[in-house]
């Protein structure tokens, strides 16, 4: 637990990662948890640590007196945060010896940071590709009396982000029964075939079964 040494870059990075999806250290309003961690910092985190900086500015907008009257009880600073980053955790309690060690660590950290940044830059330059697939579905009706037009309408009412219906046609299967063959284009990240099958078979009064007739990556 804890963020490690908040005066070192590594500790602030841990804080930054922790605050990525949180507005406050604990819960949904400023509390003693924020006051304790705030006091552990010597100043504002650097600009690249957006989450930590945002939180710092929020807590910094209160004055000292307001901070001491935040709700909640004070706990040890190392009891906050997530479990993962605690490499330099113990160091705070030890003395002078660290002065030599930590320099090295900072170098390594800097190097790592630099590489990460380069990697991120490289990645950012790649064009954003959205993986899409074209799917053809076979929808089989309950019996020869099923209203195929109504069924197609129902199928098209299935709407979600990343789903686009295409052409549909009726294909005879035999004995006067037809099945509906309908195409659609989906974004792979957002829509799965399971979802489509489930959503369509939900129209129980019309649909007996749904099969995937074709599945092509675009």
């Amino acid at each position: 637990m804890g963020f490690g040494d908040l005066k070192a870059k590594a500790g602030q990075q841990a804080l930054n990662a922790y605050l990525a999806d949180k507005s406050y250290i604990e819960g949904y309003q400023a509390s003693q948890a924020d006051a304790v961690v705030f006091a552990g910092l010597t100043g504002a985190p650097s600009k690249d640590l957006v989450n930590a900086l945002r939180w710092y500015n929020q807590i910094n907008s209160y004055n000292n007196q307001e901070r001491t009257s935040f709700p909640g009880t004070k706990k040890d600073i190392n009891s906050y945060g997530s479990a993962a980053p605690a490499a330099s955790n113990g160091d705070a309690d030890e003395d002078d010896f660290d002065l030599f060690g930590s320099d090295d660590e900072e170098e390594v950290e800097k190097e790592k940071q630099k590489r990460l940044q380069q990697y991120a830059e490289k990645k950012a330059k790649k064009p954003a590709l959205i993986a899409k697939s074209s799917i053809v579905l076979d929808v089989k009706p309950w019996d020869d009396e099923t209203d195929m037009v109504a069924m197609e309408k129902l199928v098209r009412t299935v709407e979600t982000d990343g789903l686009l219906w295409g052409k549909g046609k009726l294909v005879p299967v035999g004995y006067g029964i037809k099945k509906l063959q309908i195409g659609c284009v989906v974004e792979d990240d957002k829509v799965g075939t399971d979802f489509l099958e489930e959503a369509i078979t939900a129209f129980e009064d019309y649909v007996q079964s749904v099969d995937i007739a074709a599945f092509n990556k675009i």
Binding site: D21, Y28, Q58, K123, L129, D161
Partner: protein, 172 residues
């Protein structure tokens, strides 16, 4: 209608003064002395400026008040009028970027801007996939924080957000 009802409750005004003009489909606020106000934003401003927590809620400085006005306008012009997915995608992205370094929309406290944007965005965020909620993390963080203020959320449903990073490589 829901948002103004909640706002009136939040600011301790009687909800009964609010009604819907059936003919023009516009919200109306009627005071006892016969004075009436029409429309979402005018009623919202009237209520918040008349309330006891006035200062924080409508902005403490002139700049904050101006910024709040701007966001109310944003809700009317961009959010309430978005019908197509590409419209919503555009402003979701904008708002997400805007909130990157902010806990609340304006200043360091909950304001009328947060309140009305929370209500304006509720349905939209409810329909986001978990993947999108993670992608627009700053928006999600803000929303999650606001919805946990019980007196703001009131009867709105609590929208679930993931507690951990679910998807890796979301940068593609």
């Amino acid at each position: 209608m829901n948002d103004l009802k909640s706002l009136a409750t939040y600011l301790n005004f009687p909800v009964a003064k609010l009604s819907l003009d059936q003919k023009e489909k516009i919200l109306v606020w009627k005071e006892k002395d016969g004075k009436t106000l029409r429309g979402l934003i005018s009623i919202a401003k009237y209520l918040s400026r008349n309330s006891s927590h006035h200062k924080q809620f409508t902005g403490e400085s002139i700049e904050e008040r101006a910024a709040i006005d701007q966001w109310l306008e944003y809700r009317l012009n961009n959010i309430d009028r978005a019908h197509q997915e590409k419209d919503t995608n555009a402003f979701i992205k904008d708002i997400n970027t805007y909130l990157e370094d902010k806990v609340y929309f304006v200043g360091h406290q909950l304001s009328l801007a947060d309140f009305l944007l929370y209500y304006g965005l509720h349905n939209l965020i409810r329909d986001l996939t978990f993947y999108e909620k993670q992608k627009y993390m700053h928006l999600s963080r803000w929303f999650d924080n606001v919805q946990h203020a019980e007196n703001v959320r009131q009867t709105q449903t609590l929208i679930p957000f993931q507690k951990n990073i679910l998807y890796t490589g979301s940068a593609h």
